[in-house]
Symmetry: C2
DNA sequence: TCACATACATAACTAACCTATGTATTGATC
DNA sequence: GATCAATACATAGGTTAGTTATGTATGTGA
């Protein structure tokens, strides 16, 4: 993803949230959706996307389903029950962060 | 500093902004001010604070003045002209980040 | 046929930040 | 007058997130 420092650390939250909103999705589809939602400002790189998906799966937050499209493999990811509660947690954390940082920096949020 | 992931990457912005608002300050004073402003939620550690101050000084964003308080050394940091323009840049970046992430996650900011 | 988009994946590197450690002074409590 | 906490600086070493670079392979439009 692109680099304004604070964006680092939000990757997991972003993935969980788009999966929550759009149901099962495959990796490439996620990159496109995020690009669209952010109007081209957030470009997920494979090097961060796939390791994070694998990690979330290993931790039981995501479940996968592999589908063959012609000869091409597609791996769909969806939230598990645990994953659904993690989304809420991550979103709350991010919301807290935005409130705290806005206070400290006295930035007006419009 | 403490760890809700997104806070990582905001250290430089925080330092620059408190120095902009409060004029010359020394390291320990900064940790206390930030703790106060954040109501105890952001606790800067020396291990991140001092290297960042040194770095900003080396880059010409901060100038220093060492003062002896009795037998104890105090090193005051203040923004240079370059530093002042960097604050604006960093604050704009952070503001953009908050806007972008809010859109993508469809979080309502109050 | 050649380039670009789709689709997965991982190894190696970078950079930020934290933990741990070190030195030393000051002030409060026992 | 000893001991602990707070004040005040600093850096070495480790962790981890994310990037860059690379690899494999299919589908599609010029």
């Amino acid at each position: 993803m692109y680099s304004p420092e604070p964006l680092k650390g939000t990757l997991q939250t972003i993935l969980l949230k788009v999966l929550k909103d759009h149901g099962k999705m495959y990796g490439y589809e996620i990159t496109q959706r995020v690009k669209e939602l952010s109007e081209g400002r957030i470009l997920l790189t494979e090097g961060s996307l796939y390791p994070m998906l694998h990690r979330l799966e290993a931790e039981g937050m995501l479940k996968t389903e592999t589908v063959l499209m012609g000869k091409r493999v597609r791996k769909y990811y969806a939230l598990t029950a645990e994953g659904r509660s993690l989304v809420k947690e991550r979103l709350n954390e991010l919301f807290d962060f935005i409130k705290t940082i806005s206070t400290v920096l006295q930035v007006k949020i419009t």
